[in-house]
Structures are given as C-alpha cells and as structure tokens.
C-alpha cells in the first residue's frame, strides 16, 4: 500500500487506513492492516541453529548465575568484564541461529505487503511465500543499508558468510553506539538514579543493549519501518523481538524487590534490574519462538488483544 510522504520529524508516515472493522478479529484473516514491515523472523531451519536457539539462553543464564556472586560483590568491575564475553556470545549466537539482515524474509500466508521505506524510497514488496513459519526465503541485501526497492527476488538458500559477518560487526557497533545511550536514558526515565551510579546505569544499559538489540540490528539492520515498529512496540513476536521486549519488561519487573527491607547486597541498584533483564530476555526468546510467534500487541478501538499475523 502506498504511504504518504513522511514528515520531517522522525514520526512515521501517517497511515490513513480506516480502523479495523471488528474488534473480534483475533483470527488470522484480517492480519494485514496499517503498516507492514519485516515479518517475524524464525530461527534458521538448521538443526544446529535450532538446538543452539534452545540452549543458548539457558547457557547465558547459567553463566550469569555462576558469576552472580561476583556481580553482587563488585557490580561495576564484574559487569565490565562480562561485556566482551556476552558480546562475543551474542554475536556468535545471531550468526549461527538467525538470518542476517536482508538475507531472509518470511512471508505470511496471506501474502504480505512488506513495506520498508525510509526517507522516500518506495515500498519493496516481497513475493508471496509458502506456509506459515516454514517458508524461509533468503535473499541477498546490503548489510547495514536500507533495503533497496529491487531487493524483492528470492535467492537460493544459505546465508552468505561475508554478509553474516558484516552484519555481526554492524550489529555490534550499532548496538554499542545507539542502543546503549537509548537504553540508559530509558533506565533513568523509568527510575534509575540520575545523579549517582552512572557507571552502573551505563553497564546495565550495555548489557541490556547486547541482549536486546544485537539480534535486532543483525536481523533487521536499520530498516526504518522495523525500528518504528520497535518504537511503537508493534513487532510481531519472534525470537529477536521476544528477547528484546523480554529484556525491557524483565528489567522493569526487576525493580520489584528493591524496596524490600531485607538489606541484602543483591538489592543494590543495577543487580535486580539486570537479573530481571536476563531472565526476561530468556523467557521472551522462548515465548517469541514458540507460543507468541507472529503475534502482535494490538489495540483496536480501546480494545487490545494479541493478534495473530500468520
């Protein structure tokens, strides 16, 4: 569907589609509405990738649990030490398990109009794909760049290793450069100390950024439509988005034990938040891959419900 010219502000194009007709359409029939961008991203269909996607969150949690005492003892030093390890693990995970940006498009059954435009580029519509979740169409694309209008044809399977590696690098850089300050700001806005604990907030944000956005950047690059969906919390559920949203929700829930009067050392500021983020990330990934795959948070005229896109 065509979209009107975007405003100079970062605001997304204003969609003039009328409201969904009935609030009760929880089925998959009227899935396509308003703006569409990248569909949910499945784990690569290789056995290695599938096994890895199941085990990797558990491995990270186990690692975190093993180092937990050290985090409690000296949060700043320990969290700083963990950054390169976590980063390496996360990059390895996304390279092994996920399709890199531009290499994969999953298309929903009804024939999705995928619209990925930023700054005036036309909508690139992908072709129709196969059945739900199974049809993985990989296609080449420039890493870290916007999707070009002609990137619509399907190519053979198998992700280019060069592309994946480059995507990993871009993901790393972008994560550190962009996601960390954004997450740090969000942490502070949601109640983290503003005048003190700067290092803790920063490290917490770095960890959350690695957990949440390395995969997002790797899979989606800087696709404006995707990031607008991220901003609007409208991505369809998948392993990447589940992990990212889970990280943030987990961090929010992680604040719960702080006011308790137990006076335990682990109640100090970044620890519960980060622990919540880790757990939320793992849970979000698992849910996104399985139960909530392809579902979106959706509000229809004051009526919100999870809606299946597939």
């Amino acid at each position: 569907m065509p979209s009107p010219p975007s405003s100079p502000t970062p605001a997304p194009p204003i969609i003039t589609t009328p409201q969904s007709t009935s609030p009760s359409t929880s089925s998959s029939t009227t899935a396509m509405e308003s703006e569409k961008s990248a569909p949910p991203v499945p784990v690569l269909p290789t056995p290695l990738a599938k096994a890895c996607a199941s085990l990797y969150p558990l491995a990270v949690l186990a690692f975190y649990a093993a180092r937990f005492q050290k985090v409690v003892d000296d949060p700043v030093a320990e969290l700083a030490h963990q950054v390169p390890i976590l980063l390496a693990a996360q990059v390895a995970f996304v390279v092994v398990c996920l399709p890199a940006k531009g290499t994969a498009e999953v298309v929903s059954e009804g024939g999705v109009g995928v619209e990925g435009k930023v700054g005036g580029s036309g909508a690139g519509n992908s072709g129709t794909g196969g059945g739900a979740g199974s049809g993985v169409i990989l296609r080449p694309g420039k890493v870290g760049r916007r999707r070009t209008p002609n990137g619509g044809h399907a190519s053979g399977s198998g992700s280019g290793s060069g592309g994946a590696g480059g995507a990993g690098g871009a993901a790393t850089t972008l994560t550190i450069l962009l996601a960390t300050p954004v997450l740090a700001t969000l942490l502070i806005l949601f109640g983290a100390p503003f005048t003190t604990h700067h290092l803790q907030t920063l490290l917490c944000a770095v960890h959350m950024a690695i957990l949440s956005s390395v995969a997002l950047v790797y899979v989606h690059g800087v696709d404006g439509a995707v990031w607008r969906e991220v901003w609007g919390v409208r991505r369809p559920g998948d392993v990447v988005w589940g992990g990212a949203l889970g990280t943030c929700v987990g961090a929010w829930l992680g604040a719960v034990p702080i006011p308790l009067d137990w006076d335990r050392p682990w109640q100090a500021y970044p620890i519960t938040i980060l622990t919540g983020a880790y757990i939320g990330w793992a849970v979000g990934m698992a849910l996104g891959r399985t139960l909530l795959y392809g579902k979106r948070i959706r509000f229809v005229e004051g009526d919100g419900e999870l809606k299946k896109v597939e």
Partner: protein, 948 residues
C-alpha cells in the same frame, strides 16, 4: 531507619510465634483486665488511706522476712486474683471492651489513684526514698543529639554530664511517636494504644484522660503532694484537675516559636521559690514547633537549645542553692525525637530516640563521669539506651512510692548505687519484679509462674520470650530463699543480676503483647467494605470487561496493590509502587498513541495554528514527555523509609539554588495568572482582578517563607515582606487572599454574562474554578513544592491531547492522584504529615479549619488531579461519568479492603503499630476525605449541574 536483616528475620519468627501463642491470650486478657478494673472500682476507698498511713509506720530494717513472706505468698496472691477475676467476669463479659470507659462510668472521684493501692502495702517503704520532689521538664521533640552531640546548644547540661551530676540516657520511645501516647508511656509506664494518635490530633477530646489510671502523678498526689504544671495543655487533658497550679499552652499552633515557651519560663522562678509542690512539671513546645516548621537544621534550633539550656541552668542553680530543693531530682527529657524533616510520629531512629537526663547534685557521689559532648552518631543512641517506660518505675524507686500497676518499666540500674546496702538495691528490683510479674500473670494466665513446676524445662534453651521470662523468674526464686534466710551479702550481686535479667525479659514480653483488639468490629468494617465493593462491582465490571488491556491493567494493579499491603516494606515504600505503575501505564499510553496517531490528530483539527505545530509531536512523543517530567517529579521529594535521606530536589537542590526556586515559583504563579486571563480575555477588569489576586497570593507566600524558612529567601528576594507582615496582620492578609481567590469564581460568572468563551481553549484543561483551586492549593503548599504544579499542568496537558477512553482516563487519574500525593512528600508514616501550612489564616486552634487546611496541604496533588480530571472529562456523557464514579469507588473499596484485611490479619505483627496502623489511618483519610469528600461529592454536584 534501616532495619537489619536480623530484624526482618526475627520479625517473621515473632509474628509466627505471636499468631500461634499470644494471639488467643490477648482476648482473654482484655476481659480479665476489665473485670479486674471493675472490681477495683467497686472497692471501698478507705483501703488507700490506710495504706498511706502504713507507709510511715512500716519500718525499714525488718524487711528480710517480708521478702521471704512475699515470695511464699505469691502463689496465694495469684489465686486471689483469679477468683476475683472469675467473679467479676460474669458481669464484665457483656461490656468489657475499653477499660477507660468502665473506669469513667464507675467512678466519680478524680484524684484517687485507682490502682496504686493494689500494691501489697507492707513493703512499699522498705527502702528509704532518695528524693522528695521531682522537677519534670519535657522538651517536646528533644532528640538525643540535640543535647549530647557536638552541635548541641546544651552547653551547661553537657557540663553537668561531665561532672556526673546528670546521668544521660537515650530513651527509646516506641511508635506512635506523638506527644500524647508518649506522655502516657512516661507517666503510666505502659505502652499506649494507637488510638491515641487520633486523639492526639483531635485535641479537644478528653476521653483519653489518665485521671483514672495509675501514674506516678496520681501516686504523688495520693501521698499528699501537690502538683504544678506549666506548658503543653495535653497534660491538663490527661490529668484534669490534678494540678494545683497550671498554665496550659496549645500544642498545635506550630507557627509560634517563642510565646509558648516564654509562657512556661515566666513561671519557673517563682515556682522554684515555693516549696509546696512535690512535682513541678514543665512541657516546652517551641523546639517541636521549630522542627515541624523548619526542620532540625534550622537556624532557630540552636537558639532554642540555648534557651532550654538556660532554663536547665537556672533550675540546677536553684537546686544547689535553695534548701527546700535539696532533695529534688530533676528529669529533663524529650517525649519523642524527630526525623530529618523535623516531623515525628513514625518509627525511624531519629523519632524514637529522645534524650533523657536525671539531674541532681547528689548524683555526683555516684562517680559516673561521662564524656560530653560526643561526636554526632548516626543512630542517635547516645550513652545507654533505656525504654521510655523505665521513667515511671525509676521515679517510683527514687521517690519511694509504689510502681504504678500498668507499668512495664524497669528501674534504671544506674541509680541503684544511691543506696549503699545491696539489700536495699535488691529490694527495689524485687518490688519492680513483683509488679511486672503480676502484670504478666494477667497477660498470660496459661503460664504458670509457680516454682515447683517443671523448672527442668529451663535447661533446654527456651524459645519463647515468655518461657525465658519464666525461667529467669525461677532463677530469681532459687536465689531468693537463701538470701532472705541467711542474708548472705555475697549472693546479692548475683540476685541483682538475676532480677535485672528477669525484668528485661518481662519488659520485652509485656511490650510486645500489650495490645487488645476488637475482632468483631474489624470484621464488621471489612464486611461493610466488601459490600461497597460488591455494589460498585457490576458497573465497574461492565466497563472493565470490555476494555481489554486497560481493564487487565486495572485489575492487575488492584491485585498487586492488595498483595503489597501485606508487606511492611512495600507499605513504607508505597510511592515506589505508584511510580512503577505509572511508568508502565505511560508505556501503555505510548503504545496506544503510537498505534493510532491519526485519532488524536484528527480530533485536533479545530485547533489554532499554534497548536497544529506541536500537537502531533506532543501526541507522538507525549509519553516520553510524561516520562521525563515524571522522572523529575519522582525525585522532587524522597519519601518512604529506605531512601528518605537521599538528596532530592525540594530539600537538597532548591534550597541551595534559590534563584532557580523563585524563578520557578514566579513562573508557576504567572502561568496560573495567564490561565485565568485566558478565560475572559476581553475584560480588562477581569484581568486586573486576576492579577491582583495572584500577586497578593505570591506576596503572601513570600511573607510565609520569610517568617518560617528565611534561609530560602536571602539574597534573591530583597524585599523582606516578613517583617511587615507578622502575626495578626499576616492572618488577616491570608484570609483576604483566600477570600479573593474564591471570589474569582463568582466574579468570573459575572463577567461571562453575554460573553462567549474564547475559542481554542476547550482542549485546554482549565476552568475558572480549576484555576482558582490551583491558586489555593499553591498557597497551601510548601514553597519548594510549588513548581510541581508546573509539572502537573504539563501532565494534564499531555493527557488531554491523548484520546483516552473513560476507563483509561479513570486509571490515569487514579494513578496520578496517588503518585502526586507521594511526590509532594507524603508517605505512609504519621511523621510525614505536614503541618507547616495548617494554620494559614487561622488565629486560634480550631479543629475544623485546621483539619481542612492540613488535609488540603497534604493532599494538594490528589485534589488538583481530581479537579483536573473533571475538566478533562467535561465532555463526557452521563453514563460515562457514572462509570467513572463506579470505577473509582470500586478501586477505593478494594484497596481499602486489602488494607483492612492486612491490618486484621497482621494485628500481631511486629510492625503493626509502626507500619500498618499508620497506613490504615492514611487509608481512612484517602477514603473519607479524598474519595468521599473531594471525589464523590464533587462528582455528584457535577452530575447535578450537568442535569440541571
């Protein structure tokens, strides 16, 4: 403040023990106590006279036998108690609820110490009294560090400590730390009920009188002494007619720092010259007033300490000089402390640690020279910490009268050395022990204190406090016969320590078990509340069930809030819950507005050009703006317990950045004035009115600040308006300003005749009433809180731009009401009640205006939001308004149920009086004042107006 890990562990254990062991006992005890009191009330008086005479007759040297006799007859004593209780129980069962009422209805004679005669009289004067008279000087809110630390102004008192003439202590004042319960604790030696907090506020109530209870005052009076009292009239209400000479001052007019104290001090010289009194009581209030108004760091504080020190110095000099004062003990104490904000009522260390000094030249012979002053301590525990209830038995011992029956106190062992013979020391402690034991038998009739029974039990480590008490009593008994029979001096020290050990344990047992509950009324209230919830449920459910996520959010927040009320730390830190919920709600609003950006924009098509530019931006990023401003708001006042001392904007940043403060304050006033202008923009006269009223309100605020918080004013505001407007003129001016503010509403109606409202303002959350109310609330807020109104306006504006459904608006309104209550510095502790604006324009203490002003100044945030929401909802249809009402009522009823259920279920919890009961009082205030008065009545008026 920081309760240790151990505290929370033992908290759980104790709660468990209490639930299984002490719980059932308490009810039984209530009945027995009331029965006993009735019994006593119906006894003939002569007994007392006779006992008084016996005092003189009884010889002091042949007491050994009596000790023995008492021990052996203690079992009989108990049996007698029991039988009398049984007799009385029959007719007390029906009405045996509040002891106070019984006593009142039964007795018409005021002065009789009803319970003092219950002591076994033959032993009372076994020990010669050390003093004849007592000067009891209470300095309200005299926290321990005000006297003992380096920064203190009590220089003379500190020299007394160094010389040994003053024995310093920190007296633990249990919660509630407000004056009247503390006075009860100090005079009766018992732990007062929490109801006294309310009675403390409703000062005019005399039902809380102690005239019928056994106190050291009534004991002195019974001995024929005269009592004089100057200062806080709470004493006069507690002991009506007890004093020969008296001059009361009102304790609730906190703006007055000097008059209250001068009124006491002027009586001191002439009373010191008279020798007809045996107790001279002073109660100074100025220091507390300074605390409430300006905090412990205020420049007034040190000056007040010097003033108090000069009184101490004058009294001590007289005690040295005057012959009739030679046998006088001088007690200087605080009734409670204060927290860092200068308030009290809660259970933080500062509030529970008042100073306590016993002063007499005689004490120099004790040879206890202590270091003074001491570096400030963070936990305020200077020297040794004793219980505040210990004052009563100590005075009883020192002045030689029977310990009041309800006392849980322990004679302070430092004074034992006043008596040379260790026999006498033991005797003092034994008296105290027997009195406590008697109280304990009443409290725990199921426990046997007879020595022949299983004392083998004690070889295993006893678990319960009551068991420990029993065992230490058996230990005392084992030592006793030897000492009395043979009179071995060398056994006395051992006996002394055994007695002290028993006393300590017994005190702990009694303090923790000293509450009685009327379960039926608790359940009745709970049932009524459930009825209200059930009534509002159908209407609320209809809305909730059709509202998807918002309904789920609402239900979840009610459930989590309800669960939270059962955890003491979450009750203390309730603001965290609302802040946390608010962020989640903003997140929801963000998703929603990001989802349907066109909705809000299309609804704004009528807006002016000016709006067109930023409205879409504000809609899209409104949630972010909400979050940013909320983050600032969150830091404005740190409240609660855990993080209360951390720096915040209102107490740390703004006082040091006065220019910023006053710019923001001026901006707030100016903006309110602009909003008022905007309503009738064609009339110049209207603008003039608005300007005059706003300017007058600003000047009034300056005058208040100049008189109460001068440190906020230096340099930046050159006009010292405080000098011109002080006292009477200020009150008149305040009334004029308040009248002006509210007359804006009728005036605006006059101007609006024949005029159309200006265009483009309909979407702005504003009406004349709302603006006038804002101005009034600003006047009733602390200067450092005034800029918060700018943030509130921003919030309201953003919310007005979002197109919210009825339920969403209701939820927003509820969350921000609670959130802003805490943002203005409120918390669930009694100590956070802010009285500094409760007397604006009030000349004399009068419960109604002061109560209203107190409520308004503490609930200004919620009140503002109720009004703002009403403006936001101005276009709602009738059924939507009813739904709104149903939902807020449902919310209130369910949260109230959870609070009540928590208080009922946890009534034996360790923190019931310090955490849950204050929360309950706050819940009452929320329900009655904020919901019923502000929300409900306002809404009904609104509905009626909409109809008519």
């Amino acid at each position: 403040m920081a309760k240790s890990v151990r505290a929370s562990v033992s908290k759980r254990n104790k709660a468990k023990l209490r639930a299984t062991v002490f719980g059932p006992v308490v009810d039984a005890r209530t009945q027995r106590l009331s029965a006993k009191l009735q019994e006593l009330a119906s006894q003939p008086k002569p007994n007392a006279e006779r006992s008084g005479m016996e005092l003189d007759i009884t010889k002091t040297n042949d007491h050994i036998d009596k000790v023995d006799a008492n021990v052996s007859t203690s079992n009989e004593d108990m049996d007698i108690d029991r039988s009398s209780v049984k007799n009385a129980q029959a007719h007390s069962n029906k009405s045996g609820r509040i002891q106070k009422r019984h006593k009142k209805s039964r007795s018409s004679i005021v002065f009789q110490p009803r319970l003092a005669m219950f002591e076994d009289n033959d032993n009372i004067t076994a020990v010669p009294k050390a003093f004849d008279k007592v000067i009891f000087m209470v300095v309200d809110a005299l926290r321990s560090d005000f006297v003992y630390s380096n920064n203190s102004g009590f220089l003379f008192t500190q020299s007394l400590i160094r010389s040994g003439a003053a024995l310093p202590f920190t007296a633990y004042a249990s919660s509630p730390t407000v004056t009247m319960p503390r006075l009860k604790a100090m005079t009766t030696g018992s732990i007062p009920s929490f109801l006294d907090v309310i009675l403390n506020i409703a000062e005019s109530d005399t039902s809380s009188t102690l005239a019928y209870q056994d106190t050291w005052l009534t004991q002195l009076k019974a001995r024929g002494g005269q009592l004089v009292m100057y200062g806080d009239d709470t004493w006069l209400k507690l002991f009506p007619g007890l004093f020969e000479r008296q001059d009361g001052t009102t304790s609730f007019f906190v703006s007055d720092f000097s008059e209250v104290d001068n009124n006491v001090t002027r009586h001191v010289p002439k009373e010191l010259l008279r020798d007809d009194w045996s107790a001279f009581i002073m109660h100074y209030l100025g220091l507390d007033h300074i605390g409430h108004k300006a905090g412990p760091q205020s420049p007034y504080m040190l000056a007040k300490q010097y003033e108090m020190d000069s009184v101490v110095s004058r009294i001590y000099t007289s005690m040295e000089k005057e012959k009739h004062l030679q046998s006088t003990v001088f007690v200087l104490c605080g009734d409670h402390g204060m927290n860092d904000a200068g308030n009290h009522g809660g259970s933080s260390v500062g509030e529970t640690s008042p100073a306590l000094l016993f002063i007499s030249p005689k004490f120099q012979t004790l040879g206890s020279f202590r270091k003074s002053p001491i570096n400030p301590l963070k936990d305020f525990q200077y020297y040794r910490t004793v219980e505040q209830t210990d004052i009563t038995p100590t005075l009883a011992g020192l002045l030689g009268f029977p310990i009041p029956l309800n006392s849980f106190g322990v004679f302070i062992p430092e004074f034992l050395d006043l008596w040379e013979s260790s026999l006498k020391k033991v005797h003092i402690l034994l008296e105290n022990s027997k009195q406590l034991l008697r109280a304990m038998r009443e409290a725990f009739p199921s426990h046997n204190f007879e020595p022949d029974l299983n004392s083998s039990h004690c070889e295993i480590e006893p678990l319960l406090d009551i068991e420990v008490a029993r065992c230490s009593w058996f230990q005392v008994l084992r030592l006793l016969p030897d000492s009395s029979g043979i009179g071995k001096e060398e056994l006395y020290p051992e006996l002394e320590s055994a007695l002290l050990r028993f006393l300590k344990v017994a005190q702990r047992v009694m303090s923790s078990a000293a509450s009685n509950y009327n379960l039926r009324n608790l359940l009745l209230g709970l049932g009524l509340n459930a009825f209200v919830a059930a009534l509002s449920l159908p209407a609320a459910y209809k809305l909730l069930s059709t509202s998807g996520y918002a309904g789920a959010f609402f239900a979840l927040s009610i459930i989590s809030y309800g669960g939270m009320m059962f955890a003491s730390s979450y009750v203390e830190e309730e603001q965290q819950f609302w802040n946390w919920t608010f962020t989640a709600w903003v997140f929801y609003l963000h998703i929603k507005s990001a989802m349907h950006p066109h909705c809000s924009i299309s609804s704004k098509h009528r807006l002016s050009k000016h709006h067109n530019l930023y409205a879409p931006v504000l809609t899209r990023y409104g949630a972010v703006a909400l979050l940013v401003s909320h983050r600032v708001l969150r830091r404005w006042n740190q409240t609660g317990q855990k993080f209360a001392a951390e720096p915040d904007i209102a107490r740390s940043f703004l006082p040091s950045q006065r220019l910023v403060l006053w710019s923001l304050v001026a901006l707030t006033y100016a903006y309110t004035c602009m909003c008022l202008f905007a309503h009738r923009c064609h009339s110049r006269l209207w603008r003039l009115c608005c300007f005059i009223v706003t300017a007058a309100a600003l000047i009034l605020k300056l005058a208040f600040v100049a008189s109460d918080f001068p440190e906020l004013l230096y340099e930046t505001v050159p006009i010292r308006s405080g000098g011109i407007l002080d006292g009477g003129p200020l009150i008149l001016f305040t009334r004029l300003v308040m009248g002006g503010i509210f007359s804006l509403i009728p005036v605006s109606m006059y101007f609006s005749k024949g005029q159309q409202r200006s265009l483009g303002k309909e979407d702005f959350p504003s009406t004349v009433f709302h603006e006038a109310l804002t101005l009034f609330l600003i006047t009733q807020s602390k200067a450092t809180n005034i800029p918060i109104f700018l943030i509130l306006r921003l919030h309201a504006h953003i919310i007005s731009l979002m197109k919210l459904s009825v339920l969403e608006l209701t939820i927003t309104s509820l969350i921000v009401q609670y959130m802003t209550f805490f943002a203005f510095g409120g918390s669930n502790a009694i100590s956070s009640v802010d009285l500094s604006n409760a007397y604006n324009g009030v000349g004399n203490y009068n419960i109604i205006p002061v109560g209203v002003l107190t409520f308004v100044s503490n609930w200004s945030g919620p009140i503002w939001w109720v009004s703002a929401t009403r403006v936001l909802r101005s276009k709602q249809a009738r059924h939507e308004r009813q739904a709104y009402l149903a939902v807020i009522t449902f919310h209130l009823a369910t949260t109230l149920i959870s609070v009540m259920a928590a208080c009922t279920a946890l009534r034996t919890h360790l923190f019931i009086w310090t955490v849950f009961s204050p929360k309950y009082l706050y819940a009452i205030a929320w329900a009655i004042f904020n919901h019923l008065t502000v929300n409900f009545v306002g809404e009904i008026l609104f509905l009626l107006k909409a109809n008519g």
